[in-house]
Subunit: 169 residues, 2 copies
DNA sequence: CTGACTGCAAACCCTTTGCAGACCG
DNA sequence: CGGTCTGCAAAGGGTTTGCAGTCAG
């Protein structure tokens, strides 16, 4: 299953413009990887993209795929599914609830809403299969980050919480 | 910020009952780790739980925390935040859209819904900070999995997609 | 041409696993 | 006491990084 051709082209053009504007070179690898991402409906992971691109460009390396995806992500040209990639986080609240997530610091909090609990599932979603649960995720900038970074411009992406979890070594 | 004491106790009792019923021994470590998870509102990750428990029980090891969390997860006593832990997945669809995710195989698909786009944010959520985006995640079992596993009982948890992404080695 | 980019390999982080001793029931 | 569980250390899987050669502009 693929994204319609004209839409792929539109996305690719946007990619090219944004990359050029940001001073990135338009290498073959980047174009092929971008095309693959732009044309997939399946929310592929880096390895899937790697394998697909490799078919057309056998010398490409997995880390180039990662680097390109990161570039696209930082330019705001793709998003990543689910909460940002970090360690798994646990939730002992088993009631039906929803989440507020700060895109800056990753802070997550539960909240309840009977309106959200009662959401009617659109037919488009039902067509994929049965429904077990629905859950609303609200992303924003939490109060603490808002005051802390008041004068920085809003970033496209949360600052990566890389290396936040120190180990005692 | 902590969960109210009586609620913590209630959760802990539930944990104990479930663990005992499933034939797990109630060791000090498991109880302390469970208590920590049950009393946190912050959706901690394994390392945060480890550090907290370590204060009261300096000999505890990080892997025991992981093992206990996995136990709680498998007993259905906690959930994990966001999509299941696996590799990062990318999405080139930048329009406002929502996701259907199969809890069996991890399949993810976009769908659109103007009703979902128009959701009114509850005050409870606004109190955490500003809102950038809201996104509905519908979890279910996709058509393919439904036919494939028609006679298996519904699992509490998706089958871990561990090692699904083969490398060519 | 020249700095940015790639491929390679090694490092890193989070998580899991094999093993021998410790402890619950 | 016996089998489960813990702590330790090492392995695993995904992702990132340092380096030297390569290529876009």
């Amino acid at each position: 299953m693929k994204v319609e051709g004209s839409e792929v082209d539109r996305r690719l053009e946007k990619f090219k413009r944004a990359a050029k504007r940001a001073g990135f070179k338009l290498t073959h690898q980047r174009l092929e990887i971008s095309r693959e991402v732009a044309s997939s409906l399946e929310h592929p992971d880096a390895d899937a993209i790697f394998r697909a691109v490799q078919r057309r460009m056998p010398t490409v390396a997995l880390d180039t795929v990662y680097r390109t995806l990161r570039m696209l992500d930082e330019l705001g040209l793709v998003t990543t599914l689910g909460t940002r990639r970090e360690s798994a986080r646990f939730d002992a609240n088993l009631g039906h609830h929803h989440h507020y997530i700060c895109v800056r610091c990753g802070m997550a909090r539960d909240f309840e809403s009977s309106a959200f609990n009662a959401l009617r599932i659109p037919a488009a979603a039902k067509s994929f299969g049965s429904v077990v649960a629905t859950h609303v995720e609200i992303r924003g900038i939490c109060g603490r980050c808002e005051t802390k970074f008041a004068r920085q411009s809003t970033p496209r992406k949360p600052n990566r919480p890389r290396g936040r979890h120190r180990r005692k070594t």
